[in-house]
């Protein structure tokens, strides 16, 4: 159990054990709970940093636990998993601070933070999964641990939203399980290998492999909110803000997209998938989701529902990047995984702050909110412009690479999709900004809580501002050695045959 094998397990345990302990903490033990939460988040970030540095210098981290005769649970740190682990760990820290501030004195916080830590455990486990079996295990765990958070408020609306969430995710999980077993019986192994392990199979299995691909994409598409499986996402917005921020913008949705990336690259292999002819329909489905998501977002008056539909369309950029079979498009898709995460979490933080301090839920109530809360709206504006793809921000870079990749791969129609969706993004974000900055504020806010001279609690404001700054930073300093863009270039070198 030397350091090379212990590290991945430690990263997973660093949020599992505190989570289990938090369950047993009484409601009023606030200090203990906060310290435990923060300690867990910081330790995990530190460990991820060490592993990031190690992987960059070629160390090999892997741990195998016997799970089934002939199949093990594998936690392995390869460059692709490091991308998602770093994203999850850093954003979990920010969201923990935010959640502590947000749920100041609401009931059952121990239960909330317990399941919150279990969710991150599942996400990190899913990211570090070394074979499809481990991935499926953590994928199902993610469903089980997010359900109590969706129904946390305990209202009838929350229960119905939870029910719909389950119908989609458990159904998706079942399809994924069926496809995984079928794949195992055909291929004999489920290990993620650089250029996929299916190219060796003889041609008689090709129709079966296509059906398996469809099942896998359907199973993963539920969480990646591809149409027609996206229905649960807008309804899950009934959950408290930290949940919709971390889970429905980062953890759950990205898990689905990350799964599709794994399947296309490390199970089928991009060339083999292209030869099977399954990448084009996937690209079309992703494009349709992008357009559909943006269109639906236009007509939502509730702020969080508009952001939810925006997430539905934004995640499909990643899938589009993967489906367009070309190295540059892959870079665009993968880097968008990080950028979209950071930008969307900023927007959800701001939405939470508005709801918490001013009681604003509808966009129509946001007149002149910029004057009342300048810092929050500044962060919201940076996030919004990032989404639209304005130059200095992170969003621009991923759209830039997606466009270049499409041209390089000869898929010119993708350019029109990107252009159209950017226009639609502008169409549903700019009115919010215009209303917030240029309209006169109403006489009184629906449910205002004053925080002395500061505009809101620092625990809520700080995370939002930090992630906004991160969006700016990722955009400007894209070509720095440790930036996500360089890291993604490091990944794609391995995915494509030299």
């Amino acid at each position: 159990m030397n350091w090379e094998t212990a590290l991945p397990l430690l990263i997973v345990l660093s949020s599992l054990i505190p989570g289990l302990i938090i369950f047993f903490l009484a409601e009023k033990q606030v200090v203990a709970r906060i310290t435990l939460n923060m300690a867990a988040a910081l330790i995990k970030l530190a460990l991820v940093g060490v592993m990031l540095w190690g992987v960059f210098h070629g160390h090999h981290y892997e741990i195998r636990l016997p799970f089934l005769p002939g199949l093990d649970l594998v936690l392995r740190a390869d460059p692709l998993s490091m991308l998602f682990v770093t994203l999850s760990a850093s954003l979990w820290l920010a969201t923990t601070v935010y959640a502590i501030g947000y749920l100041e004195d609401s009931p059952n916080r121990s239960r909330f933070f317990g399941f919150f830590s279990l969710c991150v455990t599942a996400t990190v486990g899913l990211a570090l999964a070394g074979n499809l079996l481990t991935f499926v295990l953590f994928y199902e765990l993610l469903t089980l641990t997010t359900y109590p958070l969706v129904v946390h408020r305990g209202t009838e609306v929350a229960r119905l939203a939870g029910r719909k969430y389950l119908i989609y995710t458990v159904g998706g999980g079942a399809l994924l399980l069926l496809a995984t077993v079928w794949l195992y019986t055909l291929a004999g192994t489920l290990e993620f290998t650089a250029r996929g392990f299916l190219s060796g199979l003889d041609a008689v299995h090709y129709p079966a492999l296509i059906i398996i691909f469809v099942l896998l994409i359907a199973g993963l598409g539920v969480k990646a909110a591809l149409i027609p499986f996206h229905g649960w996402l807008p309804q899950a917005m009934v959950a408290p803000a930290p949940v919709s921020a971390l889970l429905h913008a980062v953890a759950v949705v990205k898990a689905g997209a990350f799964g599709i990336v794994r399947v296309v690259y490390d199970v089928f292999g991009i060339e083999f998938a292209a030869s099977l002819g399954v990448t084009l329909p996937l690209a079309i489905l992703a494009s349709a989701t992008i357009i559909y998501g943006s269109l639906r977002a236009l007509f939502q008056d509730d702020l969080k529902r508009r952001l939810a539909f925006s997430t539905v369309s934004q995640v499909s950029y990643i899938v589009l990047g993967v489906a367009v079979a070309g190295p540059i498009a892959t870079i665009g898709g993968l880097v968008h995984l990080v950028h979209q995460g950071v930008q969307k979490i900023t927007l959800f933080f701001c939405a939470g702050i508005l709801a918490e301090t001013l009681g604003i839920h509808k966009i129509s109530e946001m007149n002149g909110v910029g004057r009342r809360m300048p810092w929050t709206m500044a962060a919201f504006t940076i996030g919004a412009f990032g989404m639209i793809g304005a130059p200095p921000l992170a969003g621009f870079i991923s759209k830039w690479y997606l466009g270049l990749g499409a041209l390089d791969a000869g898929q010119n129609w993708v350019i029109f999709i990107l252009a159209a969706s950017s226009l639609l993004n502008a169409a549903y974000f700019l009115p919010i900004l215009y209303r917030a900055w240029f309209k006169a504020p109403p006489a009184s806010w629906p449910d205002e809580r004053s925080f002395g001279k500061r505009e809101t609690a620092w625990a809520l404001l700080a995370p939002a501002v930090i992630t906004a700054a991160l969006t700016l930073g990722l955009g400007l300093l894209a070509s720095m050695p440790y930036s996500p863009l360089e890291w993604v270039r490091f990944i794609t070198e391995q995915e494509y045959a030299p």
């Binding site: 089934l68 389950l166 079942a174 069926l178 019986t185």
Partner: protein, 482 residues
């Protein structure tokens, strides 16, 4: 040290211990509770001892009275019987701890002797290699189970106990007629000897039909499941846990043992019929469970569905399929026992078990709810639970055997299980004030349910070792073609 551990004839100890325990609890009712717990622990260690012995020396055959196979009765212990004994020991220990706090003094006097004699019948049944001896153990099991159901005083408990008794007697008589035909065809009652002399004559075909019908009636496979829901729902909570986890599985064990060795017809059309009945049981049980308004009835119908899974292995007949079915059996037993205990806690706490009004448990019975949730994870077959391993192995077997329709049934069954499970969990999270005074639930009862549920989850991680243990003495035959 290991010399004498392996030397003790654990097979005999496993039968004598519960018998003496039952008698002791009957003789001294005032201290029957502590006696019962002591004997439960002793039996658990005896099972561990036998397991150790099997690992060291492989399958054990013990000739009672020293007479040998055809004349006397043999006891036989291999991987399959060890699995069943471990299931009985785990669930038994959990139920013993739970019943310590569940029964009033008056009822406990009757519960402990009957429960330990039922345990003796189970152990004797899992270890016997003689088909008439199996008939006697089946009767002992049936009568003890009926008496335990009737412990819950109430019109429908007595009613379902009566119906169960008649069904049990009918099943036993069918089985006995099959035994008579087999004995007079081959002149022996020992399973191993019958397996050698077996040839397909009309008498053997009717014996197969009769014994299978009798055992299927007692296992409550689909068309013959009518008696199970009422019996399991109206019985006291620990008794329903015993019935669903162990008693129903005993007749399945006999059918499996006969099918594997004596009948060896796994790949004929009869296997397909059983698979079909199993599939309908999975779907029918799931749909009925969805329609129930009372929690214990929902769990009882879930048992009908889960039993259907076990029969999916018959048409497949490969080694993986049998191991998958047996693993499903083990994890279902433990998870279902935990679920019934949780339902018992809820019933004692709220005074009713109407699902729609369970919406106050999450905050007031957190341990019970966690136990119910973890057990549910295993029943649904979601990772990381024992149920998942069983489901994975069965899926793998049906896929590699090319009969993919069983895989679809497994997936649909899982979805139905998720549907009726989350319907209950959904209500437990909604927030509503208390409208009546509540019964106190002793901590011991909540912890017993939670520990069993955790065991069901833990089963998900120890499957390589467990599957290897199950393979001692190759009960399922080598890697025969599917």
């Amino acid at each position: 040290m290991t010399g004498d551990i392996v030397g003790i004839p654990w097979i005999v100890v496993l039968i004598v211990l519960p018998l003496t325990g039952g008698m002791a609890c009957f003789l001294f009712p005032t201290i029957s509770k502590s006696l019962g717990l002591i004997f439960a622990l002793a039996i658990f260690t005896a099972v561990v001892g036998l397991g150790w012995q099997l690992v060291e020396q492989g399958a054990q055959r013990y000739a009672i009275g020293g007479w040998g196979a055809s004349l006397g009765i043999d006891l036989y212990a291999d991987g399959l019987s060890l699995l069943m004994l471990v299931t009985a020991a785990l669930v038994g220990l959990g139920v013993s701890v739970y019943s310590g706090a569940y029964f009033s003094r008056e009822k406990a006097k009757h519960f402990w002797p009957l429960w330990l004699l039922l345990w003796a019948a189970l152990n004797a049944l899992f270890l016997s290699a003689d088909i008439f001896n199996l008939y006697v153990t089946l009767e002992l099991l049936g009568l003890a189970a009926v008496a335990l159901i009737a412990l819950a005083d109430g019109a429908d408990a007595l009613n379902s106990a009566m119906r169960y008794l008649l069904v049990s007697l009918l099943g036993s008589l069918f089985y006995l007629l099959g035994v008579a035909l087999l004995y007079h065809s081959f002149g022996s009652l020992d399973i191993a000897i019958l397996a050698q002399r077996m040839e397909p004559t009309p008498a053997v075909w009717s014996a197969v039909g009769l014994m299978s019908a009798g055992l299927l009636l007692k296992t409550a496979l689909f068309p013959m499941h009518f008696w199970l829901p009422a019996a399991h729902a109206c019985a006291p909570a620990p008794v329903s846990a015993l019935l669903s986890a162990l008693v129903v599985k005993a007749s399945f064990y006999i059918l499996l043992r006969l099918w594997l060795e004596v009948f060896a017809l796994t790949d004929t059309s009869l296997g397909q019929l059983l698979g079909l009945l199993g599939a309908t049981a999975v779907l029918w049980g799931g749909i009925q469970a969805l329609r129930q308004t009372r929690l214990k009835l929902l769990i009882a119908y879930s048992t009908v569905a889960q039993l259907g899974y076990l029969f999916l292995a018959f048409p497949l007949g490969t080694n993986i399929a049998w191991k998958g079915a047996c693993y499903m059996l083990l994890s279902h037993a433990i998870a279902k026992a935990a679920m019934f205990m949780a339902a018992g806690n809820i019933l004692r706490f709220c005074g009713h078990d109407r699902i729609a009004d369970l919406d106050r448990i999450a905050q007031r019975l957190p341990l019970t709810l966690t136990a119910f949730a973890l057990a549910g994870v295993s029943i649904m077959g979601l990772p990381p639970s024992g149920g998942f391993i069983g489901k994975w192995l069965l899926l793998e077997a049906s896929m590699s055997a090319g009969q993919w329709w069983w895989a679809v049934i497994l997936i649909l069954g899982g979805l139905l299980a998720a549907a009726y499970f989350f319907r209950v969990i959904g209500y437990a999270f909604t927030r509503a004030g208390l409208t009546h005074e509540v019964g106190v639930v002793p901590a011991r009862m909540e912890w017993a349910a939670l520990v069993l549920a955790l065991a069901a989850i833990l089963l998900g991680f120890i499957s390589p070792a467990a599957l290897e243990l199950m393979g001692i003495g190759t009960p399922f035959g080598g890697e025969r073609a599917g």
